[in-house]
Symmetry: C2
Subunit: 341 residues, 2 copies
């Protein structure tokens, strides 16, 4: 059997058949890139030990278009996204599983580039991809490649975070500037060229989270403002905790090129997706310590306290604007940016 033609070859239906060709694709492309002791087990599942503690599990299907973008690609994004979902519980992500849905005709060279990017992201994060699955659908029944990653992790003792724990008086912290990911993708799709000065912020935040929960185990909730952006994620948390929120626009960091691109595109950066930022809510007494901890980490250098949790039976999120007025920051209504992750 000839080796897979990774230069000019394409995904064929037979690569999803369970037979010889699928075995070859897994061996020469996936296993070659992800290589680790668990995949070497060669079974339809992986076995591993977990440290004692409550287990956390998260799953995310990735359908981003385009597949490649400044700052990453669907491969690295699928690793970062799921690591972050596990980490937002306060947990340490330990293992990943990956399911691929490939479209017939997709270039193997692109698939290899994506898989190698996943492997690099997984190695950099120290979270191995230990099991996986590959399916192929006919041309026109998919869109190149979709990747579903699932992560498991373990909670450090004494940490308990949940979206329903915010209390009036708590402070709301943001780890850095918003809008980069969404603006990059939209600019690329519309061939606007902003992406030459902006890139996705896609990154794995678990080491930042580990530092935060170690320094301030009293943190109430963590969440990453992905689809729907900061505005939508804060509304989710407000609703879940049965509280309101009062934000300060001047404290919310937005980089200048992102602000300019948003103005040009008619987007509100509050609603634009991020893939490497987090929101933290903690009691007022620990807010300064948490802020200092975040700023001491490279991923939290631009962290800021952006607002306060308030009593509000209507669970409204409001914001004092740059000009001193007050505006409602409502849920995302309708569709701002499809297929952003």
């Amino acid at each position: 059997m000839n080796r897979l033609d990774l230069r000019n070859g394409k995904v064929e239906m037979v690569h999803g058949s369970g037979g010889r060709a699928m075995g070859q694709l897994i061996r020469e492309l996936f296993a070659a890139a992800f290589r680790n002791e668990w995949l070497d087990q060669g079974n339809d599942q992986a076995q591993f030990s977990l440290p004692p503690g409550r287990v956390v599990m998260a799953t995310d299907s990735h359908v981003i278009a385009p597949l490649f973008f400044p700052g990453g690609d669907i491969g690295s994004l699928s690793v970062h996204g799921t690591i972050n979902d596990v980490a937002m519980a306060g947990a340490r992500p330990c293992y990943l599983a990956a399911g691929f849905i490939l479209e017939e005709g997709f270039p193997l060279a692109d698939l290899q580039r994506i898989v190698e990017s996943m492997a690099a992201a997984s190695r950099a994060a120290g979270v191995p991809i230990v099991t996986g699955d590959t399916k192929v659908v006919e041309r026109g029944k998919g869109d190149g490649v979709f990747i579903t990653t699932t992560g498991v992790g373990v909670m450090p003792p004494g940490v308990e975070l949940s979206g329903d724990r915010a209390r009036p008086g708590d402070r709301i912290l943001l780890s850095g500037n918003i809008g980069d990911h969404g603006v990059t993708i939209l600019s690329l799709r519309e061939s606007l060229g902003f992406e030459t000065e902006i890139g996705s912020d896609s990154q794995a935040l678990h080491t930042l989270v580990a530092a935060m929960v170690e320094a301030v185990p009293e943190i109430r909730c963590l969440r990453d403002p992905t689809r729907g952006g900061l505005a939508n994620t804060l509304n989710e948390l407000a609703q879940q905790s049965g509280v309101g929120m009062q934000l300060l626009e001047r404290e919310i960091p937005v980089r200048e090129p992102v602000r300019a691109a948003c103005e040009f595109l008619g987007l509100d950066p509050l609603y634009v997706a991020n893939e490497g930022k987090l929101i933290a809510i903690c009691p007022v007494e620990q807010a300064e310590r948490l802020l200092a901890t975040m700023r001491a980490h490279p991923q939290g250098r631009d962290a800021a306290i952006i607002g306060t949790v308030v009593e509000d039976v209507q669970c409204f999120v409001q914001m004092e604007t740059l000009f001193g007025g007050n505006r409602m920051v409502d849920w995302l209504n309708g569709e701002q940016l499809p297929r952003i992750c």
Copy 2:
């Protein structure tokens, strides 16, 4: 906000936006069907305890076409498939995650039917769906619905199974008749009508596995013959263990209507996918006890010892035919049935 129109509504791009509409879809359709304490946590991940022991993780993307078939649908299949992948390690499946990729325009009524079928399969198996994700792609970029399920489970103490543990002299057992799933799907696709007397064998095999590993902890390997069928799965195991296999055709159970349909369709039942059968390999000394244990379980009533592991550096799988000849049972070459799971 009006309730979701589950009768005439369709999936829209906005259902994947992360905003209000997605929240509604999750609440009124997914959470309503899956309802459990973990989903009620309302976070982007689930937290749970696992019993002590080695952890097993498996993931499977499901792209079957058509979505509904006699004996199940993509929803029940996606629960059974992943439960079985976890169980084939000898493990007890504990929790499932589910990622949905929906195509714009897909009828919400069909989605609800699928989700309720998943919920029923999960409840029947006692393995809850504790976390999930929903994405939407444009019309023509998907195919109705794809579901990726990931399962975690725990190994009972003292059990160690792997595809590389088969040894010459071991016996090969099969839990029941083969070919039903693949023949059902193909007949349905080609509108041949065989599916009126045949249905998919899709079922969760974890209670059968639990009985087997309890009675015979010496089992070497378990695997479910899905894509590529019995022939391909046995070749995988032979290769992984570095052994040959000698099968007896007369011992391999194939139901009469399946045999007839295979003849009509030009299919070899050995290569046709199953979704509710397993292969077990165990030392000869335990083979009769294992067979009796399997036959005492409703899912193993038709179990049989179908062959013997032999020494063979070429790792060939061979079979004594009904007529006393000997034939090679090679790997699946090419594509027999696309999108069977």
